[in-house]
Subunit: 255 residues, 2 copies
């Protein structure tokens, strides 16, 4: 088993940020700055395609969960993203995506196959990261663990959660059913799923089909008007409340 | 114009409840008990079929909005409901609904036509109630007004809101598009819409079609697993936060 090595530490506004690596994969762990090491639930996050572990969307969600719910929050760079090198395959797929975009061709088939490739690499990395994080005394191995990933974070998260019994609640959204629906059928924990009603890349039928595939007895779909990149900010607040309900924390007004 | 007459008053746990009538229609107004008459936004609610103005669902939602957001909340008995007499037409439609239910026939066609009939009576009553409530100094004529009605409350609310420019945000849910979609196309204010993914009366296609019909630039659909009567309690919390966002109030932890 890979152990976790902290590489940097900083804190601001009640948020302790610790950079780490597990088996060479760089990640970041956010925690309450003044908790005195007391044990609290963990939420694992996965970032979107083209982004990285400390993108403002990640840091903003972490702030909601840490300062609003008292949770620990961790995210790692996906393969080919953030501080990790791109392979020739990464470069070729990204070039193909940009070519399709410039030509006005559908991006879906390229995103689906490239994200599936990345997910196959990332799932064992997430598992190793969770193993290592649960060795920390302030997280531990017995507490509930959430997962939150939209877009590419869903492409990684659905196969990860489908095979990971330690995850007890998950927020997903904005992906295609092609590869993921079969994995979603294996997921029975509570989920919240986001989709955009006017998504120019993912059709309504595709979004609804992936939501429908989850076997969870308790699942919620949040549809909002707007295009792919217009997911409203209040859905992050909703996700934080979802995790508070399922991982067991009181939400303060800031979340 | 009918004026509002208060007929009873009580208060408990920070909630002032005043029964009233407007033009013979009985209603109830909930307000913060210790506000000292200061002006606050109003949310009009409409109850579901077979229920009444002080059904626990109404009182519970009122508590979220009053104690959580500081709003005033009012609801009136629908025609043939609560303290209002049933006509021969009401009795015949209710008997027909029970007959269809016992025979295992679809309830939708009966509910749609009966709710449409009641809505035609109720819309002018809601307008008169709003006129009268806005004469109260603690509500006034200039503030934002919300509308919240699910099931029959949506059948009344959609035509009411479509013709009522004073309503600035609305929560609807769980009805058929047959009669309401044409009215929904006239509505452009922010809405939140609830539907149940496993509704035994309203198909997914029907629920999605009514949500799709709203012309609102900002609209959210909340789908939850479960049957018609299993709308999760946390959707009431979500609706309260929706009104807090749009009518302008800070939500306290209790909402």
């Amino acid at each position: 088993m890979h152990s976790l090595q902290f590489t940097a530490e900083s804190s601001s506004n009640g948020l302790l940020q610790r950079d780490f690596t597990v088996g060479g994969v760089p990640g970041v762990l956010w925690s309450p700055a003044h908790a005195g090491g007391e044990r609290a639930p963990l939420v694992l996050m996965a970032h979107g395609g083209g982004n990285h572990k400390t993108h403002p969307a990640m840091a903003g969600r972490a702030r909601l969960l840490v300062t609003g719910c008292g949770f620990h929050v961790a995210v790692i760079d996906a393969p080919g993203h953030g501080d990790r090198p791109r392979t020739a395959h990464d470069e070729a797929e990204i070039a193909e995506l940009f070519r399709a975009r410039a030509a006005g061709e559908p991006e879906g088939p390229i995103v689906v196959r490239y994200n599936d490739h990345l997910a196959q690499l990332a799932v064992p990395e997430y598992r190793a990261t969770l193993d290592a994080l649960q060795e920390l005394p302030e997280i531990g191995g017995a507490g509930p663990v959430g997962f939150w990933g939209i877009n590419m974070g869903t492409a990684i998260g659905v196969p990860f959660v489908a095979a990971e019994p330690r995850i007890t609640a998950a927020v997903f959204g904005q992906h295609w059913p092609d590869v993921l629906a079969e994995k979603a059928k294996l997921i029975t924990i509570p989920i919240e799923y986001d989709m955009q009603w006017d998504d120019e890349h993912i059709s309504r039928e595709e979004g609804l089909a992936l939501f429908d595939a989850f076997a969870s007895a308790e699942k919620s779909l949040h549809v909002n008007s707007g295009r792919h990149k217009e997911l409203p900010r209040f859905e992050a607040d909703s996700a934080a409340r979802f995790f508070a309900r399922h991982l067991g924390a009181a939400v303060t007004a800031s979340a």
